[in-house]
């Protein structure tokens, strides 16, 4: 019986693997040894996390001429080596344990790691995520603490006349009908990211679980809307001129749709001083416009490597996109700006920081190393969350 069981197992693994992973092979219902070998060739594990903190990436491609690892641990691609079974591999160790996006470059073609279930949600590329742990758990790591939850919610937006998605974080012990009402952070992704990116890449739920468990952050709800309605509008067959630089559609969606939905459906504190808005890159631009432009709605504003250009902030304070500078300074509880020194958008953040300083506008400017990455984003949200609603 054990032998039969083992044979059955092998057949089934190959069978299920085959039919589910190689769709066009579904017409081949016979499990020949050749098919089995092709479908379940080498038991490739990737990424494979080693005890010394290094990680081994593997990719099965017997016929490829060149396979490289393109990982945000490094600023350049790393060549991988092929073994006799046709499995390409490389073992690397990052300077800092973190979660790094990566893909394989197979004869010049960008390929997601087929053996890694953790994917970077994005409209325009597909990366996998390598989650390299340190000796001590990081703030973004799953720990044995009370866990909040991420919920996928769907609401009808009159602004764009569509059913739209959002992710909502509620902390452990959140009670929809209890006495505790929570403040809300509206947290916006970057261009080509989606409403899932702050959850799946930003790990905002785990960062908050750990911060709250350690008493380092206030309990809050975090709402992650889908800041880009254009793909959905296009998919619905209607045409709307896209204005990715503009913030009108975004601000209307947040203020007229998302906030009322949240305040109708969650046990939250209302009023501007209980609302924050922050975002990364394009989402930083949107957060500045929506936050600084609506001080009756938000009193806490965060911008992570915001996509602003030249000295447009001066114009924005003057022309009404942002409310007048003196009014903003008087009303805001927190103006938080973060940008890495290697970020390609650093000049605008440095300019905004200098301008606010020159104008006597109280604000925080966090300027670590690092580039326009989600490693930096996790750092920004951790630091901002520690300041909010205090």
């Amino acid at each position: 019986m054990p032998i039969m069981k083992k044979i059955y197992s092998l057949i089934m693994i190959a069978a299920l693997f085959g039919t589910m992973s190689v769709s066009a092979q579904q017409s081949e219902q016979r499990l020949t040894p050749a098919l089995m070998a092709r479908l379940f060739p080498a038991g490739v594990v990737s990424p494979d996390y080693n005890k010394d903190g290094s990680v081994t990436f593997r990719f099965q491609a017997a016929d490829a001429e060149k396979v490289e690892l393109d990982c945000q641990m490094f600023s350049e691609r790393k060549p991988m080596e092929k073994d006799a079974r046709g499995v390409w591999s490389i073992t690397v160790k990052p300077e800092v344990p973190d979660i790094y996006p990566y893909c394989f470059i197979v004869d010049g073609m960008q390929v997601t790691d087929p053996n890694n279930m953790f994917i970077f949600p994005n409209e325009g590329f597909k990366n996998s995520l390598a989650d390299v742990r340190g000796d001590a758990p990081g703030m973004q790591d799953m720990q044995d603490v009370p866990h909040g939850k991420i919920s996928y919610r769907y609401y009808h937006s009159k602004t764009v006349n569509l059913e739209r998605p959002m992710c909502v974080y509620t902390p452990a012990g959140y009670d929809p009908a209890g006495k505790e009402k929570l403040p809300v952070l509206y947290l916006i992704h970057g261009m080509t990211d989606t409403y899932e990116t702050w959850f799946k890449v930003g790990r905002v739920n785990l960062i908050m679980d750990n911060l709250i468990a350690q008493g380092l952050a206030e309990r809050m709800i975090i709402v992650m809307p889908y800041a880009n309605p254009y793909p959905e509008i296009a998919a619905s067959g209607r045409f709307v001129a896209q204005d990715m630089m503009g913030t009108d559609v975004f601000c209307s969606e947040i203020i007229n749709e998302v906030i009322p939905y949240i305040e109708d459906n969650y046990n939250v504190k209302k009023g501007a001083k209980n609302r924050a808005i922050a975002g990364f890159s394009m989402g930083g631009r949107q957060s500045l416009a929506c936050g600084l432009g609506n001080l009756d709605m938000f009193r806490w504003v965060g911008a992570f490597a915001p996509a602003i250009f030249g000295n447009e902030y001066e114009t924005n304070f003057a022309n009404g996109l942002y409310e007048p500078l003196k009014k903003a300074e008087r009303k805001l509880e927190l103006m938080w700006l973060g940008c890495g020194s290697e970020d390609f958008l650093i000049q605008a953040s440095r300019g905004l920081d200098a301008y606010l300083t020159e104008q006597g506008f109280e604000h925080t400017f966090y300027n670590p190393g690092g580039g326009h990455t989600w490693m930096n984003c996790r750092d920004y949200i951790e630091l901002l969350a520690k300041e909010l609603f205090k």
Copy 2:
């Protein structure tokens, strides 16, 4: 100003697109025209849903020699054609509007569609999802009805000593503290699938929203655990012999961890007659073992193309993996079996159906066309959900 704005937009789109999608290029902070052209070459839209119900797939690969579409609409791969810009494309129309997994085969290499944010969650391959709508919305389509939510929950499993994830569907208007207590369906994915697959591919939340809105299904909570703990155990650095055919670890996890967690944290009806278990493929095998083996816990059992072999069900009823046949027949509220005629596991389902019929065991056997696919799975869950808890 409009011209400057347009130029800024273009630069920023290329810049953000570039740095976020091609990680190793992050060291190139200068946006040369050549880099822009490479990073944002042709504004490729894929999949592009046409008004006549067809869909156009596109893939940018100027240097590729051969690109094919491998889509579960068809049993064979379809050649794509390259235009002067290096964009490969094909327009196809499925016989039935549905959600079809697909990938591109680029010079023999399986590649996910970089421009499609909808991904099939899986441990061992990466497919994209083409969501082809019909003239009237299907049960799996987003409609303007009250929406339930999917929540990502995390619990500490003593069985495997890990923090583990699950997805939980609660219907619109679910009240954690209200008078209405709900029955629970435990819904299990297939081998190499994850706890996200019934949500992201199965669309079980939208199917339930629509069924409930039309009065066709009872209100219920649906719990989607992660049936395969082995990758997590391995990632945590411990070793456990994998027994994918065995159901012991799975049943222990469901009964000792998942059910108590749900009954502690949700407003549910307790008792076997308020619990159902169903699953696809490997999850069908697990549901049969866990359901038929624990009639004091479950009274509703569903198996979708279950991974059972030969006539093992006879042995299973006899050797204690399932409770004795007569007892099972007396206690069960519903025994629901579904399998497509082209499914490679159809023989076992036909055998189980014939055996149950011969034994006078009341059950449902649904045997449509189709193979071992998630198109069929959505059909199975819709039909089962209409029967449950009535």
